[in-house]
Symmetry: D2
């Protein structure tokens, strides 16, 4: 029997992407969708892209009602709403992947410094940070998984092989990320209008983006030492994709080939991490619509400067695809189930 | 046992799209790829999008070699090359879907007026025009299917319900199509450079586009009467998609609702044609990456002017997806097999 | 002494485009800007593009205050607001170019059928429809010019040479327009978000767009006979530009060359209309940022079908550039003054 | 009498941009255009954007012929061709702004390490690096100006205020640049096709881009000490613009405000450098089509990390606009002449 899945907050960009992936998952049936804005409307009125193959109606969020017809829950609502919603489903015995920031932090104080008061701090102890490449085993047993932010996913996958081996200086890590506009979500704001964004590039929230503490938490945990990074996100005129350029210093003068081998070894068995051939660099275009993270590395041999570049689709590996990957791990399905469609190119 | 499939001409945009769809098809295994330009190279060097899940090498076109390891052939090479290639595979007992124009025309004279001398005219008698919505039964038995052009697919699906019922004037049909740039193929030409195309729109080949005789052939066959249409294609700054706006005159003063019902009835059982709810119009964005054709209709009640709008992804329903649909029909697989992934939105 | 100019509604897309053009006009000084939303803020906080060369502050709309420091007024506010604003400036002796629809219609009944009750219907008698190519002499003396809509500008310039000569059938005119997103204005609405618009094309308001009666008014006036047209606008993923494809039937079987000559003769002395060389078609890219309208023509010789294609920048020739051209005519400046910058290419 | 100007290599993107700017310059007349590819064709056949206001014909490069009808020369040809061309015009008494890399380097050895053998090394002694913000006085007298690369312009304007004051560590400078596609020029290559570039971002030539030694030359000269930087360029799906994000370490714990003041003071009198208001960051959209460089700064107060962001239009301040600015300086015209058109927004 298929797992019945509910999506809380189905009408944002991560919501519709969850739909795309789950409707295609052979062991899952989507049985409930909620939307504050579109409650009462058939989902194909909101997203004509699902016409003819999904006839579900958006409903109000009612934990009792939803719980009766679902076995597993994705919460794709904004932070704050998420931590007010997740406990109700936990109490009704559901396991949950939450796509907001509310269950990503171990230390409530960190969350509260960057967001607001946490209303379910006790859950932070058991919630697992849902980056399978780091925490697969814990995810397997988790009741609540805090699905990583889009920027942290690309940054962490690029940094973790060398951090855990202690091969780079922890002092001067620079994370320069370039994101497509869907990362800003579906909120109707001036800054997301086509004509404000198209044919332009800009940086934003320098030193102040809320994904910074998330990156630092996971790097510090891995290094068992407090690590600070310089993180600057940029907005790029395209729908999907995050390219992250990582500037680090090697502890010794390793060559490109040696670094490449370490990445290759680290990720050989990871189903969704791909190391570009030596001399090649990743483009977000090569992962669009897929759950892959592509990686390229290049050392300035002689002085130990290293640049690592990672490419993901922010809505897939950076959000909904990773969430489905986490669900697969939690439910014991093959990790690639429902995620086996290749990138859309071009 | 899976059907072993070869793609002749795998490194153009329709080639890589065939790959994306076929690698995901449960009853098919891609066992041979040819490329004049990249022979000898692994396919993932040409398209990093397929890294880690396809390790095939591009090879030269050798019908003997390819035939030994394949059961079914897609030819995704330019016209002329196609008609020189297809017979060799037919002789070796393969069935073929050809994505070029070489097997779309019944009358060699028409082909030769718009293209060049046909080198396999005898095959035109048996080749079937591969629009499943029109010729499904013949496709089932065909040895060679001439997969429709991208523009004709969008135009014909929009016109056929009213043409076959004789409900519109055949004199004044206007077909105004807007296509994404991938329709121009992967040839390295000035006009396809990013900076020449981006942030601009233009018409091209007015009255002279080679898809015109294809549209006219199928409409005339359906009407059992020669039909001429005015066809103007336009180039739009986006990767994928064709929107076709059809301007016709109704033979009587039917209402929007009556026309809508006819479309609904005609296409209810078609797996890949979707009629937009009354009052809604299609966008190419709602079909991107999928094999769907979305349709909207609007009558100027009072004087019988009717506008029909169709939206397809030119690389899927307008090329490789339709080709896979044809293969499914030819081989007796469920028609939607391998094509069940929803549109990528946004 | 320079003409002191005020812009009422300076913070929309047509407002900032007026600024760009007027700041560059040697006989004009911009001395007042109003904005409901940004009153009190320096204009370069709203549009950093004007930093360092314009230090004006946005103010509330107060006709007395504004009139004291201006000689000439552009109203770039939405319809309804415009007709409530224009009379106050007229009473204070200002001449006005209004960029809304409120002064484009001769017949209040037509305006009221498509918009709402007109609050200054008596002004419609004297207001001049500001298409210089049609009404230059009247514009010269006008107190109020109703600046044409963006779609009508492109459609009318393409149709008027043959309409006034009675060379085409008036029965079957089809106007298929493709517009960049800035045409939708700067309103913060879901449909204008980058991710909703990018990588997609759609038709909208078929038979129902408010620019239709404007096109029909001017064509009918020119033909001295009621003309109806079929008009369908489309939205294209780019910032600026409108391409209009016009489908008409010639009254006789003229050749492309003959039609081309008529266009050439009609527009030879028009400073902003350019006929493409025979065999070439216009792209919006070739007029971006300029006040030009480029035109191409193509006859299907033998049956008299004719396609005319026009390209404009919707914010320049389709709005603010045409408005400056009108001001130049009204004030006796050379018509190209301030408008002599070539298109930005690419 | 106007200065008669020739453009050698007028049919690339920097060539047509020179045309746009120079045709609008009141003291200049363009009297000769050369093009290897389009010799014999009127320039408006190559670029319909200049139809009706420029009727010059492209000609072959013949230094004698060109010299007779020109007073001043821009060379907008590829490197190597430039150094073979410039001496001929010098000998004929012309002054030249060269837009290639051939006259940017003081030390022939550096040029030869990154490019090829220099055929006019003696000219490198007198050629001036054409960044007005650094070398205005020398430019005034120069016979040959080596117009800076697009990336170096954005990087140097961002770094020079703090470098010359010795306020930052010279050890850890990271230059992460994001460029529109026109930076790659008009060469017809696969990597510049619309569908290869659109909807994707990638890094390229990490540690190996030829603009690196140019940046290092100027920084080292200014610091009077050898400076190495880490430079990574990226390709962004838009026509124009370069955003450069600079990561540096302050020598002391200055605050954002102090750094902002230094930028403000340094550039107050520069006509084309604009410092964003405190708390604001630049977008390339705000400089498109103009010669401006916009700058934003942000300090992580407490630890002295500083991020500087600069935005230019690569074809204007990064190429042709800067070239015109240099010409103005050389010929004693006001520095902003012909460059006084504001950015095109949106």
């Amino acid at each position: 029997m298929k797992t019945r899945v509910g999506i809380i907050g189905a009408t944002g960009y991560t919501g519709v992407e969850l739909l795309r992936l789950l409707l295609h998952h052979p062991e899952v049936e989507v049985t409930a969708l909620t939307s504050q804005k579109y409650a009462g409307l058939p989902i194909d009125h909101v997203f004509p892209s699902v016409m003819k193959y999904l006839r579900l109606q958006c409903e109000e969020l009612n934990a009792d009602q939803i719980s009766k017809k679902t076995d597993f829950i994705f919460t794709a609502v904004p932070h704050k709403t998420a931590m007010e919603t997740v406990p109700a489903f936990l109490q009704r015995g559901k396991r949950i992947v939450d796509l907001s920031a509310d269950f990503r932090f171990q230390d409530p104080a960190v969350y509260e410094r960057w967001y607001q008061k946490h209303t379910a701090p006790e859950l932070l102890k058991e919630a697992v940070y849902g980056l399978p490449e780091l925490h697969r085993e814990k995810i397997r047993e988790a009741r609540v998984v805090g699905n990583p932010g889009c920027y942290p996913t690309g940054a962490l996958i690029g940094l973790l092989p060398l951090i855990e081996k202690g091969m780079i200086s922890f002092e001067t890590i620079v994370v320069d990320s370039k994101s497509g506009v869907s990362g800003a979500g579906r909120d109707v704001v001036l800054d997301s209008l086509f004509c404000e964004v198209n044919e332009g590039v800009k940086a934003y929230k320098i030193f102040e983006h809320r994904h910074l503490p998330e990156i630092e938490q996971e790097l510090s945990r891995l290094a068992q030492k407090k690590i600070s990074v310089t993180f600057v996100p940029h907005l790029i005129p395209m729908d999907r994709g995050i390219l992250t350029t990582l500037y680090v210093r090697l502890a010794q003068k390793w060559k490109t080939e040696e670094i490449w081998n370490i990445f290759q070894d680290t990720y050989e068995k990871e189903p969704f991490v791909r190391i570009c051939p030596k001399g090649k660099l990743p483009s977000t275009k090569d992962v669009k619509g897929s759950n892959y993270c592509n990686i390229g590395v290049k050392v300035n041999e002689g002085d130990g400067r290293l640049v690592i570049v990672t490419a993901i689709d922010n809505l897939v590996k950076g959000a909904s695809g990773e969430a489905v990957q986490n669900m697969n791990i939690m439910l014991g399905y093959p990790e690639t189930m429902g995620l086996d469609v290749g990138p859309l190119w071009p």
